[in-house]
C-alpha cells in the first residue's frame, strides 16, 4: 500500500464527473450469497464502470489467551463493488454489492444504517446461502425486496413457495430478474422503491 507522489492516480473520466450541482447522495445495498450476481446487477445499471472500495478490519481471535496480545488479531480486507446512477442534477444514487464474506459487511460501519433499503439477490439452486443475510437485515430493520436471479438450470419455485421457504412476511416483494439486463435490474430497484414508498405511506418505515 505504498503511496508515492510519482504514482499516477487515474481519476474519473471527464464524462463520469458529477455536475457541481450534485448536493446529496442516497444508497441501496445489494446483498446475497457468493456468485449470485450482485456485481453483475451493479454493473448492468451503473452509469460508471463499477468501482471497488475496500476496508481493512481486524478482529481479535476468539478464545485465545490474552497473553498473545495483538498478535492474535487477524486482518481481513472487505471489498465492495459499487456503481452510480445520477437521479437528478442534485441527487445521486449509489449501489453497493460485494463478492466478500457476508458477515463482514455488517461490520462495515454505516453501510446499512444510512441505506434506503436492500435488494436480496437469490439463486434458487442455493437458496440457503441467503438465509443468514435476510436474517441480519430483519434484525437491523432494513427494508428489503427479494430478487430471484434466473439461472436456466435452477429450480423454478412458485413465488408463494419461495415466500414460505424464506419465511417472509406477505408484504415483502419477490421479483424474478436477469441481473445481466439493465431493464430487469432497473425493475428490481423500482420494486424496492415502490415498496419503500408503500412503507412510507403506511407510516411503517422506520
Amino acid at each position: 500500500m505504498d503511496f508515492k507522489s510519482s504514482d499516477t492516480i487515474t481519476g474519473p473520466r471527464t464524462e463520469d464527473h458529477l455536475p457541481h450541482t450534485a448536493q446529496a447522495a442516497v444508497k441501496i445495498v445489494i446483498v446475497g450469497g457468493f456468485g449470485v450476481g450482485k456485481t453483475t446487477m451493479v454493473g448492468s445499471v451503473s452509469e460508471i464502470r463499477p468501482l471497488t472500495t475496500e476496508e481493512t478490519m481486524t478482529q481479535a481471535g476468539v478464545g485465545v489467551d490474552d497473553n498473545y496480545g495483538s498478535d492474535t488479531k487477524t486482518a481481513t480486507t472487505v471489498a465492495m463493488d459499487f456503481g452510480r446512477i445520477s437521479i437528478t442534477d442534485q441527487l445521486v444514487l449509489y449501489l453497493f454489492g460485494t463478492p466478500g464474506q457476508e458477515r463482514f459487511w455488517f461490520l462495515w460501519n454505516g453501510l446499512f444504517e444510512g441505506a434506503l433499503g436492500a435488494v436480496v439477490l437469490i439463486d434458487t439452486r442455493r437458496l440457503e446461502v441467503s438465509f443468514d443475510v435476510i436474517g441480519r437485515l430483519e434484525e437491523r430493520g432494513v427494508p428489503f425486496v427479494i430478487a430471484v436471479n434466473s439461472f436456466p438450470d435452477g429450480p423454478h419455485y412458485p413465488v408463494e413457495d419461495l415466500r414460505t421457504a424464506l419465511d417472509l412476511s406477505p408484504d415483502v416483494p419477490i421479483i424474478e430478474c436477469d441481473a445481466r439486463r439493465r431493464a430487469s435490474s432497473r425493475d428490481v430497484l423500482m420494486t424496492l422503491m415502490r415498496f419503500l414508498h408503500s412503507l412510507a405511506m403506511t407510516g411503517s418505515l422506520t
Binding site: M1, F3, K4, S5, I9, G11, P12, H17, L18, A22, A24, A25, V26, K27, V45, L51, T53, E54, E55, T56, T58, A75, M80, F82, R84, I85, I87, T88, L91, L93, Y94, W108, T124, L127, E128, F131, G135, R136, E138, E139, G141, P155, Y157, D161, A165, L166, D167, S169, R182, R186, M190, M193, R194, H197, L199, A200, M201, G203, L205, T206
Partner: protein
C-alpha cells in the same frame, strides 16, 4: 421438490453494553491506520460512503502527496467511496485524510440523505422518477 426452510428473525433490541467495555469496543472491528499520523482515538469527521466531497481550493505547498491526490480528484463532487476506489486506499484511511482536509477547510462535505425515522416520500418519488428514465 421442496426448497430449504428459513426461520424469520425479529428486529434486535439494542443490547445493553457489556460491563467493563467501552462503547465501540468488542464486536466492531478496529480500523487500521497506516498512511496517516492519526491515532485510533483521533476524532474523525462524520463521513458516509456516499458523502459527496468537493475541493474548495488547490492543494497548498504543505499538502502531503495523498492530500494533493485527493484534492486533485474532487475538483468535481465525488463520493468518499469513489475517492477510496480511485486512490486505491481503504475507506477508513480516506476518512482520516478527509478529516484533515475538512479541518484545514480545503474540502467541503455534502452530507448524504440517510433513511430517517420520518418517511421522506418526495425523496423516494424523486429516485423512482430518475430510475424510470434509465
Amino acid at each position: 421438490m421442496t426448497p430449504p426452510q428459513r426461520q424469520r428473525r425479529q428486529p434486535a433490541e439494542k443490547a445493553p453494553p457489556e460491563p467493563g467495555k467501552k462503547p465501540g469496543e468488542g464486536k466492531i472491528p478496529e480500523r487500521l491506520y497506516v498512511l496517516t499520523g492519526a491515532t485510533e482515538d483521533g476524532d474523525r469527521a462524520e463521513l458516509d460512503l456516499v458523502t459527496l466531497i468537493v475541493a474548495r481550493s488547490d492543494a497548498p505547498q504543505s499538502a502531503t502527496p495523498e492530500q494533493a491526490a485527493l484534492l486533485g480528484l474532487c475538483i468535481a463532487p465525488l463520493s468518499v467511496a469513489e475517492l477510496s476506489a480511485y486512490l486505491n486506499l481503504p475507506y477508513s484511511v480516506v476518512t482520516v485524510l478527509l478529516t484533515e482536509l475538512l479541518t484545514a477547510e480545503l474540502v467541503q462535505a455534502r452530507a448524504p440523505i440517510v433513511r430517517q425515522a420520518l418517511p421522506n416520500r418526495s425523496l423516494l418519488e424523486a429516485v423512482m422518477h430518475g430510475l424510470q428514465k434509465l
